[in-house]
Amino acid sequence: MKILVPVKRVVDYNVKVRPLPDQSDVDLNNVKMSVNPFCEIAVEEAVRLKEKGVATEIIVVTVGQSDSQEQLRACLALGADRAILVETQSLLEPLAIAKCLVNVVHNENPDLIILGKQAIDGDNNQTGQMLASLLDYPQATFASELEIADNQAIVTREIDGGLQTIKVNLPAVVTTDLRLNEPRYASLPNIMQAKKKTLDIMNVEDMSVDINNRLQTLSVVLPEERQAGVMVESVTELVDKLKNEAKVLS
């Protein structure tokens, strides 16, 4: 079984992001970039399926600028077999990324596509579902457990009221939630070995995909700050404030 794992290069989750002074976008100058954490979980799940003998090949793919090769190498060090960069200078929206991925799926014919449920930059939570829709594949989003049997994926999903289990026929798209697994750290020998693995570069212009942005960002600003509150000395004082000042307790 062949697994395709689309990943994204994003600002490291420990970085506190701020808007640029002209409010045109967030300030990404000299900040640490990483593999999106949900994508790392997707790679880890694919690697575990390979270790169990369920998967035979894992291909990681990203749609982005040339520097995304760094994140593809990181995924190769985690255990992916080869990588594809669909190179573009533009910052693409989820719909355009999904369309590029459709091309890759048609070339590679994977049995399973695993993605992060969202990237922690745009927080859109769209690409996996859009890819499944464009391919007319079934999907299992927000996965916290994944099992493959009888040419189906049996997936436990994290939903608002608790958990849901569904079965989807392969080929299918699965998107990962936080608790699906805990990704491993790449070992030094694996990092060295990853440098020798194949990384193919395709150009987005060769794909005849409409990559024009449909959304224009007019401004990026900090959210309104909450007013700093007061410290209370005791539970008695707290209850008094809640009853008589905030009036949220009766």
């Binding site: 506190k16 992001v17 701020r18 808007p19 967030v26 929206e93 719909l95 969202q118 922690i120 927080d123 859109n124 939570n125 690409t127 996996g128 579902q129 859009m130 499944a132 829709s133 594949y137 999907q139 299992a140 989003t141 927000f142 916290s144 049996i154 994290e158 608002d160 009221g161 608790g162 958990l163 849901q164 289990t165 569904i166 989807v168 026929n169 936080l178 608790r179 449909r214 959304l215 224009q216 960002t217 007019l218 401004s219 990026v220 600003v221 900090l222 959210p223 509150g229 007061v230 410290m231 209370v232 000395e233 539970v235 008695t236 707290l238 209850v239 809640l242 905030a246 949220v248 307790l249």
Partner: protein, 309 residues
């Protein structure tokens, strides 16, 4: 400029997220149809028809929609798309699951998780876990939008009822099967609809210790929440999680107990009206967003608080 709002329900009861979404829709246009799709919908359709400020309810009653599987549900909504200028759904796991499928089928770029409507094509939405707010303008002819429910009040429910029109279902794709739901059974209010929430963090130390949070919540008639750290440590189930990747809440009173206040958690609760933080670390970031902070041992403070209200 007509709008299709996709109702969230469980085939018995309309979810309050639908009411928040209708308030957002009404800021764009008064011409609102509400799609209720599911199985054995007589009661839910009636509830939807009583919502203020809508034009009509469209009911699609077919067992293939009973579990809202994204493939068939998305195709149904997409099939109606060209008749509308806007398609809105709540940004809950229900809406997040199927709505991007609709946008892709209609070849439009979805606008996720909006928190305000600036004009007919311009919206505000949080990015980077709420660290920044982006204002975005859409050039798509149909605007497919998911709505952050805490950013909009619930629409009123009236005595009057608008017309309910039935619509035929689409063919099922038959490529996904529902197996089971394991939903938390609780007498407490739902997290996203609760007036008061008591949330516990890693400092609770165990699921047994979490009972002091539950006792306080029960005394207050509150819902129980948790930080990601508490969920990851296994103290409580995943559906308790408040934060960027869990539930977004905005109750009148949010009591954060033993929660340090990681940005991912703050992203899920900082729109609460009044925030109380109880933590033994006086430098915990949670105190920067709290209206009332108490530095102290939660194992002493929480039982004392429970006894004194």
């Amino acid at each position: 400029m007509n709008i299709l709002v996709i109702a969230e329900h469980d085939n018995n009861e309309l979810k309050s997220s639908t009411l928040n979404t209708i308030t957002a829709a009404h800021k764009l246009s008064a011409d609102i149809d509400v799609l209720v799709a599911g199985s054995e919908l007589a009661e839910v359709s009636k509830q939807a028809a009583a919502i203020e400020n809508i034009k009509s309810v469209i009911s699609v009653d077919d067992p293939i929609y009973k579990n809202f599987l994204a493939e068939d549900f998305g195709n149904l909504v997409a099939s109606m798309g060209d008749q509308y200028s806007y398609i809105l759904a709540p940004a809950t796991t229900f809406g997040k699951n199927f709505l991007p499928r609709v946008a892709a089928k209609l070849d439009v770029q979805q606008i996720s998780d909006i928190i305000s409507i600036e004009s007919e094509d311009t919206f505000k939405r949080p990015i980077y876990a709420g660290s920044c707010i982006a204002t975005v303008k859409s050039s798509d002819p149909i605007k497919v939008i998911s709505v952050r429910t805490t950013a909009f009040d619930a629409a009123n429910v009236t005595d009057a009822e608008v017309s309910i029109e039935s619509k035929d279902s689409q063919n099922s794709m038959g490529n996904a099967t529902f197996v089971k739901d394991e939903l938390a059974e609780s007498d407490r209010p739902e997290l996203t609809a609760a007036e008061i929430i008591v949330s516990g963090g890693r400092a609770l130390g165990s699921s047994e210790n979490f009972q002091i949070i539950e006792s306080l919540a029960d005394k207050l008639g509150a819902a129980v929440g948790a930080s990601r750290a508490a969920v990851d440590a296994g103290y409580v189930p995943n559906d308790y999680q408040v934060g960027q990747t869990g539930k977004i809440v905005a109750p009148s009173l949010y009591i954060a107990v033993g929660i340090s206040g990681a940005i991912q958690h703050l992203a899920g609760m900082k729109d609460s009206k009044v925030i109380v933080a109880i933590n033994k670390d006086e430098d915990a970031p949670i105190f920067q967003v709290a209206d009332y902070g108490l530095v102290g041992d939660l194992f002493e403070a929480i039982p004392e608080l429970t006894d004194s209200i």
